[in-house]
């Protein structure tokens, strides 16, 4: 299926998210769509897949002009989109989700759906339990389900929005294999990403967007430097780890065991010293998050001891940890981190040390302006947090952290951020460690783990490896460890 987008314009208020974008994708190819956060990639793809109409411009499918008023219409025309945040229904089972949105029958034919699901999964080597609840799947599995669902609906063009974010290395390898196979069958694939490596590996052609316009196109084999300059307008060099001598132990875990209904971590011993950065590696759902939550009092160990600065806080409530100088930065920014319906100024006010009954609004205003400026948040004090872009939400989340923390815990601190923002975030975090803050973080990006950690521990099915010095390990070796090979548990 040949897709041609011509002169697409789409504005949100005063912001021109797409400013005359043209793009053509040939049948049987994987086309990369590159750009930093906020370049307009997702907007363009939502226009193509019927999620939102464009203000002007034309869409042609196999030479015929079309317009979609809803995703259903786009799917009927053969175009489906895999979203960055899966748009499935977590409370339903895999089978029920698979069956959603299929026309032509009022009564669900479960047996037929089940065999169809099994057939598609077999074909691509996906292992999806039809009866599992979608909410219990990993991001990678949800993506597989969504892909199978779209294929069963008969789509001939699949748009994948940042599909490698949050999935494991084996899941990614399987995804790439599947995509190549689909391209050989004549499907058109649009691969939206800000990761150069992924595009280099997979795509035959790439279009780069910058600030809502096409800044250039390139053919495989790609010149990485050229792509970077098309994306950012300048070449970047990686920031390295600043080597400082760690200080006194801040966090001490002694035989800590935590369990939930899905997972158990047992007998964890770990000491983190002031100014030290410890990276938690592993497939998602292997126990890293649980351990970090136990270090902030968000879950409680049923055995063992959690001590901060020598004080036993094992059974203490979350606010005691906050008082002790611990901060926790979640990955789900608007679900667990900030309140989308409050403004930046209101968030700053909430973070103030209350001196009386009343909020000091003028002070909050000044502080909000200061933090917006020094953390380079694109927004104003009266901007609602929900209307900030993901990268700006992350900056704001860091901007709202108190000064002089003892321990800073972060889930995927740079997930979904472009290279520039990632560098900036790490600069800030390294500045924190210079002050003596201990850092504990998870990441699925092996390069990031090796580049920024002092020590790395690897989780696999609730087991934690002995810490390894990051200086002594390569990404390849780390990959093996994450796969569960080559270390003594």
């Amino acid at each position: 299926m040949n897709i041609q987008l011509a002169e697409i314009v789409k504005s949100f208020g005063t912001l021109r998210a797409n400013d005359g974008v043209s793009l053509s994708v040939a049948a049987g190819t994987i086309h990369g769509l590159l750009g930093e956060n906020g370049a307009g990639k997702t907007t363009l793809m939502k226009v193509l897949s019927g999620y939102q109409p464009c203000d002007s411009g034309t869409i042609r499918v196999d030479g015929r002009e079309v317009s979609f008023d809803s995703p259903e219409e786009a799917i009927a025309a053969g175009i489906g989109m895999l979203h960055q945040d899966p748009m499935d229904v977590p409370a339903l089972s895999v089978l029920e989700n698979f069956d959603l949105g299929r026309d032509g029958h009022q009564i669900l034919n479960r047996r037929r759906a089940r065999s169809e699901l099994a057939r598609h999964c077999r074909r691509f080597g996906f292992e999806l339990d039809p009866d599992a609840l979608v909410g219990s799947l990993t991001v990678g599995e949800r993506q597989q389900l969504e892909m199978v669902r779209l294929l069963a609906l008969g789509v001939r063009t699949i748009i994948l929005d940042e599909p490698t974010t949050g999935i494991s290395a084996p899941q990614k390898a399987l995804l790439f294999e599947t995509l190549r196979e689909l391209a050989q069958e004549g499907l058109s694939l649009i691969f939206v990403s800000h990761k150069l490596d992924d595009v280099e590996q997979l795509c035959s052609r790439a279009t780069v967007l910058r600030s809502g316009r096409v800044s250039g196109e390139a053919e495989a084999p790609f010149d990485a430097d050229k792509l970077v300059s098309l994306m950012f307008g300048q070449c970047l060099s990686e920031v390295g780890r600043s080597d400082i001598a760690p200080g006194e132990p801040v966090l001490a875990l002694d035989g800590v065991s935590v369990r939930s209904h899905r997972l158990q971590i047992s007998d964890i011993d770990l000491t983190v010293r002031a100014g030290e950065v410890v990276g938690l590696a592993g497939l998602e759902g292997s126990g890293q998050r649980m351990l970090m939550q136990a270090c902030a009092g968000l879950v409680h160990a049923h055995r063992g001891k959690v001590a901060l600065d020598g004080a036993d806080l094992t059974r203490a409530a979350y606010h005691r940890y906050l008082d002790a100088g611990v901060a926790y930065v979640p990955a789900a920014r608007l679900e667990e981190g900030m309140v989308g319906g409050l403004t930046i100024r209101e968030h700053v006010a909430l973070a103030q040390e209350p001196t009386g009954l009343m909020v000091r609004w003028t002070e909050a205003e000044t502080q909000a302006q200061g933090r917006i400026a020094s953390y380079r948040v694109v927004g104003r004090p009266e901007t609602y947090v929900a209307s900030l872009s993901g990268g700006n939400q992350q900056r704001l989340l860091l901007a709202l952290l108190p000064d002089h923390l003892k321990l800073l815990i972060l889930e995927h601190p740079t997930r979904g951020l472009d290279i520039e923002s990632t560098r900036w975030v790490w600069n800030r975090l390294h500045a924190r460690r210079q002050e003596g803050t201990a850092l504990l973080y998870t990441s699925t990006d092996l390069d990031e783990l090796v580049a920024h950690s002092d020590r790395i521990v690897v989780f696999s099915g609730g087991q934690m490896s002995a810490p390894v010095a990051a200086a002594d390990i390569t990404c390849e070796a780390l990959g093996y460890l994450i796969g569960g090979k080559g270390y003594e548990a």
Binding site: L334, E335, E336, V339, L350
Partner: protein
């Protein structure tokens, strides 16, 4: 700019006009002349100084309950238990009046405090059921409303029954010392009016400028994030229920000391439910609440005149109030839809 303003005014007037049209249709169906009926209704409001005082008296409990409801709504809570909180205030007040013999200067402040305390404790109970018992506050509040009504009846027909036998007209009248002083010979109590005005002003400032108000807002919008931001979500929810209960309990207390001068079976009189409509109609904005309360009270005071003069059922007033709320919500939903479509079109 001018066009925008006109649109805004249009959207504001639309619910009123729609309500009037509906009222006319209903009145025609009832065989009355709609113009005359509406005229009577309007005249009923400004008939005499006495009527104005009646409206003021009717506004007091409604304004107090609506003020309280603003607090719980800010925290994202549907406090349908306002009725029960009013009842609890009335019961506590009656208990104080029955057990304390004191001059008015001492007794009246005591009744006020007792009413506030009763309502606050009732609110605390709803809040505890919600935060510790994990019962949705709507069910907890509603269940307790019925319990409150049953408790009132039990007391009136049991321990607190008058010596000459229990009737639906309630307990014995309170002694004069427990009567709220009124303005002249009207039914309006100046102390009640002052308390109600004080209540709405305090709530307005609290929600706009206090840390507590900001915390409640954060909890109401996303209690998970609020907890992560270090806000004690449980404690603040309990406090919100108690603050609302305090104001509603005061309203209940004033119903006994300023209006009926005794405890009657349905002492809350549906005002708790009505205050919910008031707050919804005001769009959760404290500054609009007094206006809506005035409108509701005026209709309520004026509608008996329809019955008197035209032989219409006075429940037409209630129909008007409810229709207004429905049309307001309808017009707002319609407006949002239009705006969403316009944004897409731009």
């Amino acid at each position: 700019m001018r066009r925008e303003r006109l649109t805004k005014i249009g959207y504001g007037l639309a619910p009123v006009l729609l309500t009037l049209v509906l009222a006319c249709v209903i009145l025609l169906l009832a065989g009355a002349n709609p113009l005359r009926a509406l005229g009577e209704l309007f005249l009923g409001v400004f008939e005499s100084g006495r009527k104005v005082a009646d409206i003021a008296a009717a506004m007091v409990p409604l304004l107090l309950c609506a003020s309280g409801m603003l607090i719980t709504f800010a925290a994202g809570l549907w406090n349908i238990g306002v009725e029960g909180q009013m009842i609890a205030g009335a019961l506590m007040t009656t208990w104080v009046v029955r057990s304390v013999e004191a001059p008015a200067a001492l007794l009246l402040p005591l009744t006020i405090l007792a009413g506030m305390l009763g309502g606050a404790l009732w609110g605390l109970l709803i809040g505890a059921l919600r935060t510790y018992g994990r019962i949705n506050e709507i069910f907890a509040g509603l269940g307790l409303n019925y319990l409150g009504a049953a408790l009132t009846n039990y007391l009136i027909f049991g321990p607190w029954k008058p010596p000459d036998g229990a009737t639906m007209s309630g307990t014995e009248p309170f002694p004069q010392a427990a009567w709220m002083p009124t303005i002249g010979s009207t039914r309006a109590s100046w102390l009640g009016i002052l308390l109600a005005i004080g209540g709405i002003v305090v709530v307005y400032i609290l929600l706009r400028d206090s840390y507590w108000g900001l915390k409640l807002k954060a909890i109401g919008l996303n209690d998970r994030s609020a907890h992560r931001l270090g806000i004690d979500t449980r404690g603040n929810m309990l406090l919100a229920f108690m603050a609302c209960g305090l104001l509603a309990g005061l309203a209940g207390s004033l119903r006994t000391t300023a209006v009926y001068h005794r405890l009657i079976p349905s002492i809350s009189g549906g005002i708790g439910y009505l205050s919910q409509l008031v707050v919804l109609l005001s769009g959760l904005r404290a500054q609009i609440v007094p206006l809506v309360v005035f409108f509701f009270s005026a209709v309520q005071v004026a509608s008996p005149r329809l019955e008197l003069r035209m032989g219409l059922d006075s429940s037409i007033g209630g129909v008007l109030q409810s229709a207004m709320v429905l049309f307001f919500l309808l017009v707002r939903g319609f407006r949002r839809r239009i705006q969403a479509e316009q944004e897409v079109a731009e």
